[in-house]
Structure formats: C-alpha cells, structure tokens
Symmetry: C2
Subunit: 568 residues, 2 copies
C-alpha cells in the first residue's frame, strides 16, 4: 500500500517536492497544507508586481503557459490534494499525526502521515519597535502585501517612502517605488553600505553611485527607532533624525519559521533554521524539511546557513521528492549564488566577500578587475566589474561578486564560477575557464579569465594594488609620501593634471623606461591607468628598474568613475 | 645572462606568450616574427568589419583603450622587438637558429634562439578545384581579405554572393553580406545541416529556419566543383547545378600550419597539427607551440584535436609565457566551447553533439529542453533551447549545445556547463547548478537545471521522448500505428485539430485520468504540449494506467515552431 505524504507549506518547496514525488509514485497520496488561500506562487516576483513590470498578480501564480496553479490545478493535473486556509498547529511524532486547524471554521482535527515535509518558509524580520503595525507599514512577504503596496502607490496616495534595509528586497522595492511610481525614496541601512551581506564596500559603492543618480537617498549606519503617525504611518524616527514617510517597507531580512519543528523536538539552529542532513531529513527520519525554513551546508565555510531563495527551494524540493520515493538523492549544500537588479545595473555573486572571507579566518586576497564584457571592438560592449576572493595558501576561490550594466553577461560569468565553486576550484581554474567565445559574446581573454590571472599574479606577489577607496583617501589627504603617476596618454591625463597641480603626474606607460629619472625613488609610486592593465605593466617596469615601493590602482580610472570617485 | 626567445607568428598566441614572458622576465630578449606587415589583431572580428559593425580596420588592432598594437607599441610598451614582413624558412634545432627571409629585400639570415615558440596559426582550407584563385574569390584569413571584401560590397559592386561552408565563419560572413549590404547570399554546405561539426540536426534546423527567414539560401549535401568567370568569378559550379556569383567566400575550415615544424623533425599529426604536451612543449623541449597550429587534448574524448580560436591562443600563450620563464604551468586541454551569432539568434556549445558522442562510442542520451531564459512572468523573457548529451553508464555530461535569441543568456548557461565539464561533471551536477537567480536573470528552476533533471529522467528510463523531426516524419506519413495526442488546452489545440482531422486528438493533461477510455491501448500514444513538460506528466499518467507505448515530443510545439516544422 502506498504512503500518505503530508507537506506543510505550499508556496515553493512544498509543491515541488509533492510533484516530484507523485511523478515517481503516481499512486501515492499527497496532501499539501497552507495557511494562506493562495498557494504555489512566485514570491520573488513581488517587487516586479509592485513596479508594474508584472501587470497582474495572477501572473505570479500561473505556469509558463497560463494555467493558474490553484487547488483545482493540483487536483486535476497532479492528483495532489491541497488544503488552503489550514494551519498546522503541532506534530505528534509518535502518533505520526499533524494537528490542523481550519482557519475558516476554526475546527481542529488530526491528519495522519507516513512521511512529513516541513516547508514552512520564513517571515520578514520584525524590528521590535513602536509603530511597526501601523497602517502604511508593510513587509514584502506575500501577495497581500504586494497588492496593498501597489494599490496605494498606483492610486497616487504616497509621495514619500522609506525602505528599511538594503538587501535584495529593499533595493528591488526601492527601485519599484522610485522608478515606476516616482516616489521620493529613502533607504535606511544600519550597516555602512548596500547589500552588506553580499558584496564588498567597493562593489557596493558602484551600486550606490547608480542609486544616487536615480534619486534614491541612501542613509547608512542609521538605526530605525520608531514608526509614528496618527492612524497611519507618517514618520520614521531614527537615531539620526526624523524622515517623513507615507509608506514604509520593512526589508530587514527574514527569520526561518522553525517553531513547529522546535516544538516537535526536532533540531533547530539558534537562528531558528531547521537542521537537516544532506538527504534533507530532519533529526526525525520520517520528517523532511527544506527551503526557507532550513539551514544548509555552506560549501565554502563548511558551516550551516540559511539561504532563502526560490531556486534553492526548487532544488531541495526535488531532492525531497526523490527521497520520499525511496531514492538516495542528496543536496550537498550551496555556495549561495545570488543576482539582483538595481535600476539599470546588476549585481551577482557567490560564496564569500573579501571581508567575510577574512572574518571566517581565511588569509584572503581579492582581485578586482574591470573589463569590457565582449570584444572591445564589438558594438554595445560595456564595462563589467568582477571581484574574486582567493585563499593565499590553497589558491582556492572563496567568492566572486560582480557589477555591471548587462545582467545576463554578468550572471553568465558569475554562474560559471559558482558552478565551479560547487566542485571546489582555484584561481588557476578561472584563468583557463572556457567561456564561450566569439566577439559578440565575450573577449578572447575574457574578464573571467582575467580575474583568474590577476588573482594568480596577486598570489605570486607580482601585482601589488590598492583599491579605489584607498587611492582616493591618499589623494584627498595629499599624502606627501605618495607620487601619483597617471600612465595613460597625455590627452587622458590632462584634466587630472589640471585638477591636482603638483600632485598628479603623467608619463605614458610606453615612455616609463626612458623617463625613470622623473620619478622619485624615496616615495610610494601610485600608478593609475584606465582599468589597471597598463599600471600593472608600469609597476613591473619600475620594479625592474629598482623602485621598491610601487602600487597600482585596481580597476583604474574606470573603477573610480563607477564608484562615484572620479578625482577630476 | 638572460635568454633570447624567438616567436614565429605575431597575431594572437605569439604576442600573448611574449608579453607574459616579459612580465615574468623583464630583462629577457624577445623577438616576434611575422610574414605579414600587420601584427597582433583580432582576426575573429573580421566578419564584423565586413558587416560594418566594426567601422575601421584599426579597431581590430587596438587595445581596449585605443593604442594601436604595432611594432612601436611592442617596442615601447612591452620592450619586445617585432620583425614584420619576415618569413621563417627553416629551423636548425642542433644549431638553435631560425633561417629568416626579409620579404621586402629578399635577404636571408640566421637568427639564434635559446627558446623557440611556434605560433604559425592556420590557413583556410583550399578546395583544390579550378578557379579558386580568380579575382572575387576570397577566404577570411587576414585583414587584407577583410578589406577586399568590404571594399567591393560597400561599393555596390556585388549583388550575389556564394559562401562555401556553413561553419562559424561561413555563417558570420553570410549574415554580414545579407544583413548589412543586402546581397543575395547562398550558402553551399557539403554536409546535411549548418554547423555540422558543432550542433545536432535538431538545433541546426532552428538556425536554418531563422536563416531562411532572413533570406539566406541554404543548399545542403552539395559539393562545389569549380569556380568560373571571365577574369573574375561569375559562377559556382556544383554537383547539383550552377549558381551565379559576383563574390565567393571560401569558408570550408582551416588547416594548421605545421609544415615548418614537420620539416624540422618535430612530431606533427596526420591532419598537420603540431603535437604538444600539457606544458605546450613540442617533441623538442626547447621549442613550444600553441594556438591554431597545434593539436590539444580533448577533455571529453581523450583524443587530440585542433581548436582554432582566439580564446585558446590567449590561454595557451599565457601558459607558454610562464613556462618560458621556468614555471611549470600546464594547459590541461579543452572541451571546445564555442559561440556564434547568426542574425538575431545565437548558438553556443561545448563538448560533443549527440551524434559525435555516438560516433565516439559512447552510449549517449540527449535531453533537449526549451524554456524561458528568465522568470516566465518577467518582461522580455525569451525561449531558449538547450541540448545536453550524457553517457548512460556514468551519467557524465559529454556535451551541451544551445540556441536562442539572447546570446548573453545562452552563453551564460553553456559557459557554466563548459566550466564544469572541464572538471568532469554529471547530469546530477547540472540539476543542482547554482545559476544566479532572481526573476530578471533566470528561473527558480533554471533551464540549465531542467536540462539536468530531464537528462536524469531519461537516464532513469522515466522520460521517453522523440524529436521534432521524428514526430514530423510520423505525422506526415500519417503513421497508423501512432495516436497523436495534444495535451494542451482546447484553445491551443484547435487549429491543429482542424489541420489534421481524424489524426490529431486533444485531451488536456488535467483531464487525462478521467478520459483514459478515449485513448487506444494498441497504438503508440505520441503526446505533445507546449514545451514537453505536460506531455511528460501525461506520459507518467498513461503509463500508470497501464499504457505501454507512450512517447512525448521533446521541446513540444515550441521546438516544432522554432525548427520551421509547425504542423498547423
């Protein structure tokens, strides 16, 4: 006789696990349970519904070919029963039953299971401050939030919005509100840059320069203390001041819904994530868990972490579906790849940032490279930035993040490195990575290969660089120990010579050998060019000539400009 | 004392090896030799110069920041001597000299080397037929060809062009001539589909449908016998007829320039490629070789092959540069990734096609999937096609190829799989590949993951499919043993029911369970839906109900339509 599988949660992982299992065991009985009336939707699409890019909320609930994934769809197309507006109150592991409450009638009953799947998801982190429940204060957790926000802004009832948090959802919502609806948007971030869990300050600065161009006010190192208003939110009070707000969006991260598991005596992390093994079983072998409510293995740190992404939910759901049917499928963990669109720029990444790598105890080096995303002679080429972090001892790639104006081109490079990182890879692997090449797609020496070779050169001690920020700090301080040497052609250098008289110098890289006597040997020579290639060549030339203290500016003028630090 | 390195060939690999070596050994002496007057150019850009996308030939010779890479550039910026219009006649390996001829003066001399690098490239394959040297017959081998072709077409002196060969260069030139200059273009291919060395007939058919839409005449299985004309080419004579032509472009592949190596007693393959080890040394440890003139290790077949790509030249050049300086760098081989733009469509791939895999003796299965390249609710999504070939015994990925309207999105997926294939990977690795996810970039269950899961299901024997071609063959033959069942909604199916009365049937997938008695049990049930997802579900439903012979059409109606096989 076939088993009864009960799945608690029917948004992403739940339906995926159910469908996979049913494909393997068509005669099995599966019951999907959800508190909400609406199931199986693309929650990641909510910011794009708010913006209007997605016109109808139904689109987030349909298949690629327009079938709405409702109870009827699951019953007819998948032979799966869905109980909506039904809450799972508790689990009796001995009796193998789940206590359910019908949220319409209030009636309670026990439902027996042979195997149970916890797909309880995560919820927006609450700030625990006064006013958090005022009308006009929203999270971006479900389709109701989505509709409420869009109804309000599309009716022209909000002029000023404050977004709390500058993670993915915070930035996506900031864009939606500012770009499509013309709101004045301020983003309040307690850390000192955007996407603080995902990118370095250097990459964040590029995104920030773009956000500022688009009119979004960014406020860093600022803590929200209270939300105030008469019957509706009107003000955000922070430790630095008061911001007017017709609309407040809380996007300060999420908390895994691990309470049901914890109450049933299953192992749960201090952060609330359900702990699972690589077959995605909890500490009870008859209970699986996956998606936003679990902690998974981090393939770089070896620790566990919570990675609330629809893509993870789908992949884990398939593994659970297979294992429910008796397979031995494993989910080995993740490197945590991500992608986010911010107006006309895109950021992607995987693994650790340079700062995170050092916090984790790695002796980490970071290579920041800026290069065209296809052949430099091909029309439509754009500058892309990649930052690769490697471990000094093993040359292992610990992380990659990038920024650029083409999301697809960026995701391609980051995706290739993320795939390699899932297997474990080194800087040398990036140098020979076979990104598909012809001029409309990439460069013969593609940026991902350059990132590898720059990392190799850093590891070999050949390339000694400083960041845009450090260069800017020294230049602004008029640091007398530094000799700032622009090694581009005179036309490029001229405006900077004029802007920094006596401080900014120019010798084209091709003339360095014959003009060595113009360069002081008792100061730090700081070389800058367009993207860091000629300044690296210049560094080698000067070191060969006996100069002992030479640095090149990683990313060059392109990096400075993209970061809003053009010293002109 | 530092060594003298002589490098024969100064287009791609030569300059790269020279520059890398000089960065590691700034005091070394390096001499680059080339027959041509112009060195270090992006030959891959020639089709885009012909088309006018690249306006000035100089752009193919400059760095990203507009410096022309001529003899002066190499001398001043790199401290490398370049001898142009100089031919290497022979190598005296005992005496360690190269015999050179100055092509201007005719003077000959010997140049001593400590280490020698062969970067002699490849040349267009000649057909060995009458008329091959007539004016108006061109190869696409160097900047002179490029200028000649563009000068002629831009002057309006050519109305009809014949391109011989439908590999990368053939298709790129066909596009350039037809799209930008409005020529009538015919492509003559001796094999039975375009890109015969790179993609399956199924993917080729998609490209062919697009080429036909763009007005390019495609002639398959046709052999060119002679080129004829009075003082200039006017006709192409084939085994099937005569084509008028004002311009003929020969693009029938390339032949490695291995003669110099062979004459010096170095090991050379029967196809003419110089044989090298993984440090890129020839059979003489003081002589390196790389780029278009060598054979490298194929990471899938384990055999050697010639892979004439600018990207390979750059990567190998770096390895040679490092090893010239005493490092132990290796070039482990390649999976042969490629990318080609064909009008408004793109093809990429790596490794073997299904047909090649079978020829190589693998028991290979191919999964063809069609899916949107980002979230199906996100504006601007497009259908992408991927075909993944796996080995039945080991589940190893042997190849991936794809087709679609977004080159960057396609290259990203293929690049990620190519990177994994360089390490060796299985279908299961693709199923969990962490392509960066958010709706503007990809799907929660991205197409690359779907390709992995479909391959897994094929390997498990769960998914039994047929190709667009096989479906079309059976439908056109009105095969009485087949029951063609469209499992989409009635609106979608209606035009096909009308077009194939009595032959085309329709039961939406969600109604299959309750309408089983409408389906004959003594015929092959051929299920078709939009892209193959519902027909796969339907197959499982029917098999559970005891149907023994059920097939689903891989790629569904989308595949048929893209292949020009819409049976409406």
């Amino acid at each position: 006789m076939s088993e009864h599988v009960v799945i608690i949660g029917a948004v992403a992982l739940g339906p995926k696990a159910a469908c996979r299992y049913k494909r393997l065991r068509p005669d099995a009985r599966v019951t999907l349970i959800d508190r909400d009336a609406i199931v199986s939707y693309g929650g990641c699409g909510i910011p794009y519904y708010i913006s209007g890019d997605v016109s109808d909320l139904r689109e987030l609930r349909t298949t690629s070919f327009k079938l709405v994934r409702d109870e009827k769809f699951f019953q007819e197309c998948k032979d799966i029963e869905v109980l909506t507006r039904t809450e799972a109150l508790s689990i009796d592991r001995q009796g193998k039953t789940v206590r359910l409450r019908d949220l319409e009638s209030g009636a309670e009953r026990d439902l027996a299971y042979d195997k149970l799947v916890l797909a309880t998801g995560a919820r927006p982190r609450r700030l625990g401050i006064p006013g958090e429940d005022l009308p006009g204060v929203h999270a971006v957790a479900n389709l109701r939030d989505a509709r409420d926000i869009r109804d309000r802004v599309s009716a022209g009832k909000a002029g000023k919005a404050v977004v709390v948090g500058s993670g993915f959802i915070g930035l996506e919502v900031a864009e939606a509100l500012a770009d499509m609806w013309g709101l004045e948007v301020a983003v309040v971030e307690i850390m000192d840059h955007v996407l603080p869990r995902n990118v370095s300050p250097a990459l964040a600065r590029m995104a920030q320069a773009h956000l500022a161009e688009k009119g979004v006010e960014l406020r860093f190192g600022e803590k929200v203390l209270a939300l105030e208003g008469e019957g509706r939110v009107e003000r955000v009070v922070t430790d630095k001041g008061v911001l007017e707000a017709d609309l407040v969006v809380l996007a300060a991260g999420v908390v895994p819904n691990g309470e049901l598991a914890r109450a049933a005596g299953l192992e749960v992390s201090p952060r609330g994530g359900v702990l699972v093994g690589e077959t995605l079983r909890t500490s009870d072998p008859d209970i699986f868990a996956g998606g936003d409510c679990v902690e998974i293995h981090h393939l770089v740190t070896g620790k566990t972490f919570n990675l609330p992404l629809g893509s993870m939910a789908n992949r884990q759901g398939r593994v659970i579906g297979s294992n429910l049917a008796g397979a031995k499928a494993v989910f080995p963990g993740a490197v945590g790849s991500f992608a986010v669109k911010v107006f006309d720029r895109f950021l992607c990444g995987a693994g650790l940032t340079p700062e995170q790598a050092r916090q984790e105890g790695f002796d980490a080096l970071a290579a920041l490279v800026i290069q065209f995303d296809r052949a430099h002679f091909f029309p439509g080429k754009e500058l892309m930035t990649l930052e690769v972090t490697v471990d000094r001892a093993t040359h292992k790639v610990l992380g990659i993040q990038g920024f650029g104006p083409s999301g697809d081109a960026l995701a391609g490079r980051v995706g290739a490195v993320a795939a390699l990182m899932q297997k474990g890879c080194t800087a040398e692997d990036l140098s020979i990575l076979e990104y598909p090449y012809s001029p409309p797609f990439s460069s013969a020496m593609d940026i991902v290969n350059t990132a590898g070779t720059v990392a190799e050169n850093l590891l070999a001690g050949m390339n000694r660089g400083i960041s845009s920020e450090e260069f800017t700090r020294r230049l602004r301080a008029q640091d007398p120990s530094c000799f700032f040497l622009d090694c581009r052609e005179p036309d490029n250098a001229a405006p900077y010579l004029a802007a920094h008289p006596g401080q900014w110098h120019n010798i084209p890289q091709g003339q360095l050998r014959e003009r060595l006597d113009e360069i002081p040997r008792d100061r730090t020579v700081v070389l800058v060019c367009n993207t860091g290639i000629r300044s690296y060549e210049g560094q080698i030339t000067l070191e060969q000539a006996g100069f002992r203290d030479v640095l090149n500016v990683h990313g060059g003028m392109a990096g400075l400009k993209q970061s809003g630090l053009d010293p002109k």
